[in-house]
């Protein structure tokens, strides 16, 4: 066995040179590449983090904006609801007023129409009553009826106040209204009964008016003494109108 110290030194020198060379051409470049890639990765991660933070901030801002929009929407909806309620109330009150006006007009029209109808009916009823009275009168003995009316006339004259009787006596012309022209005897009898009731002599002017139906009436310029079915029917119709 022999140990070559020159060989040992040369191999040591070779190893040192190899360590130096590999450090320059292998270990450092690869380590630098790793460091560059790690730095690039860190940069990318940082950028990604910054982007994520920015996205989070944008999301938070958007969320806040959405909350604001929702609040504004609720406010607008509430205002719209209030406005709609106000419009509804106005429309209701206006419609109510219009309905009241229409109903009042309708009521007025109905009342007017009812009045018109009632007047028409009264008129018809009056005409009907006159027709009925005429037919009834046609079935009764005319002298008896007229005699009864003459008695009613004298009674009415008797019931007049003295002042009215005096005015009647003082009248220049006194018409005695008859439904039919009486005979001369009847005129005499009537004149006599009236004068007796008045207590004074008056000249009667006999006037025929079929509208009286039955009865006698005294008329002067300022005085009328109704005593006929026409007057009675008119009084009844007046009472009926008042009763309505």
């Amino acid at each position: 066995m022999n140990f070559d110290f020159w060989g040992l030194g040369l191999q040591a020198l070779n190893a040192v040179i190899l360590i130096w060379l590999l450090s320059r051409v292998f270990w450092r470049p690869v380590a630098a590449a790793i460091t560059r890639r790690q730095a690039a990765a860190q940069t990318l991660l940082g950028d990604a983090k910054a982007t994520q933070d920015k996205a989070d901030a944008a999301l938070a801002e958007l969320t806040a904006a959405r909350a604001g929009i929702a609040a504004e929407r609720d406010k607008v909806l509430a205002e719209a609801k209030d406005a709609a309620l106000a419009i509804k109330a106005d429309a209701q009150s206006e419609a109510h007023a219009q309905a009241e006006t229409i109903m009042a007009a309708a009521r007025s029209d109905m009342a007017r129409e009812a009045d018109t109808a009632r007047e028409t009916m009264n008129a018809q009823a009056g005409e009907l009553a006159v027709d009925i009275a005429r037919k009834l009168l046609g079935e009764l003995p005319g002298e008896a009826v007229q005699a009864a009316f003459l008695q009613k006339l004298t009674d009415a004259i008797g019931d007049l106040p003295a002042q009215d009787r005096a005015a009647l006596v003082a009248a220049k012309r006194v018409d005695l209204m008859c439904p039919a022209d009486p005979s001369a005897d009847a005129k005499t009898e009537i004149t006599s009964a009236v004068q007796q009731a008045l207590g004074e002599a008056v000249v009667l002017n006999f006037v025929t008016d079929p509208a009286l139906i039955a009865g006698y009436e005294l008329r002067s310029d300022h005085f009328v003494l109704h005593n006929s079915w026409q007057a009675d029917l008119a009084a009844i119709l007046k009472e009926m109108r008042h009763a309505d």
């Binding site: 040992l8 060379l21 590999l22």
Partner: protein, 237 residues
Amino acid sequence: MNSPLESAALFYIGPVAITQAIVMTWVIMAVLVIGAYLLTRRLSLHPSKRQVALELLVDTLDTQIRETTGAAPAPYRGFIGTLFVFILVANWSSLIPGVEPPTAKLETDAALAALVFFSVIWFGVRGAGVGGYLRSFAMPNPVMIPLNMLESVTRVFSMFVRLFGNVMSGVFVIGIVASLAGLLVPIPLMALDLLTGLVQAYIFAVLAMVFIAATVEEGAHGPADPDPETSLQKKDS
């Protein structure tokens, strides 16, 4: 068959005998340097598969150094990594017919062990100062100074002998078997020699790292809290 302890000179450069181991070392150096240059020419931020493989190798080495020393791997990467790669390639060069690995020779292993010895001093002084490095011999107490000094020599000597013994024995056994049983019989032994070469390269590199880390740590902070893995490796050594 020649004695594995003998080295025949191929030629001489002055007084220096150039043996096959030295020539093979130069060849391995050329292959490694040129290969490393070619492999690292186009490193980019968008790595190819080749670059990824290189980065995986370097990152694994950095992780090993970081877990062993607890320090940044950059100062030790070149030395430890080159030791590992050179010893591995040298060990596996035995697979080439007619080639005797440089690590099967005493001078090569002794040179590597000597480099480890001086690197411990270099990194110890650089990391903890001269005082710190010298103080590392007084750990855990000054009584241990002679033993620690002796250990600093014997541990690298053991590395040298272990590497030489394993590689040389493998080559020697394969040579004997091949001379006796032909070409195919030594194949299992050659496969075993591959594993042995890898393990020895790993052990040599890790032990060098442990010695350097222990010296730097003890010089800087006193006795290091032994890491279980590190203690196990020390025990193996």
